[in-house]
Amino acid sequence: MRPRNADAEKAVLNMLQRYEVLMMEDLIIGQPDFSYAQLFLAIDRLSRKNLIALHRMGMSYQLRPMNQERALGQEQQHEELVVHHR
């Protein structure tokens, strides 16, 4: 029996906690118990809740947890400030 749609969100988040950054294809390959539709729905819901962010990488898309996204943003801001002060 297929797991339910709600379980797909947990599975996506768990995988992102483990790998931090994932290509969409890797997520699909890494979660064979879920259908594409279940995983896409999970991605839609998680991005709506601001828990993950999607970035285009060439011909595909990359997923990142939002906390990492914020950390990257702060790091960039810090670098810009350092450059500005030099």
């Binding site: 991605i43 839609d44 991005s47 011909m59």
Partner: protein
């Protein structure tokens, strides 16, 4: 461009929303054909093969799920992505009926484009698999 050379059918009875989706897809390199309801969509699908279909759920004549079922008789392999305003409960039914993806209408553009990127890639893999089978058969 993720959509370069790929043909997508966008189905929505609300012209402004259809145009908005079409614009987004064209910017990503897709060639877009538009239909204002399920019947027009089926007529388009009878005339040519699409790499993917992006359809609204609530439409006159045929809703998104009915269009999915009817389209299977014409092109069984076409990935159908249904966009809906809110009916989350239907997503389980849609999954069971073979929808490629079910997302909300207000999803971020990245969600729809990332799904289409996978749909298109799968189509290319399927075509090359068919070609290999045909070469092997001769």
């Amino acid at each position: 461009m993720i959509g370069y050379g790929k043909l997508v059918l966008v189905v929505d009875e609300v012209e402004s929303e259809r145009q908005e989706t079409a614009f987004l897809l064209k910017q990503a390199g897709f060639t877009v054909v538009q239909a204002c309801d399920g019947l027009e969509a089926l007529s388009e699908m009878q005339q040519q093969h699409f790499d993917a279909v992006v359809t609204d759920f609530q439409m006159p004549y045929l809703n998104g799920l009915e269009l999915l079922a009817e389209s299977r008789a014409i092109w069984a392999d076409i990935p159908v992505i249904i966009v809906s305003t809110a009916i989350w409960d239907m997503s389980e039914t849609a999954t069971a009926n073979g929808v490629f993806a079910w997302i909300l209408k207000s999803s971020s553009p990245g969600v729809l484009l990332s799904i289409l990127a996978i749909a298109v890639e799968q189509g290319v893999e399927r075509e090359s698999h068919h070609a290999m089978e045909q070469v092997g058969a001769h």
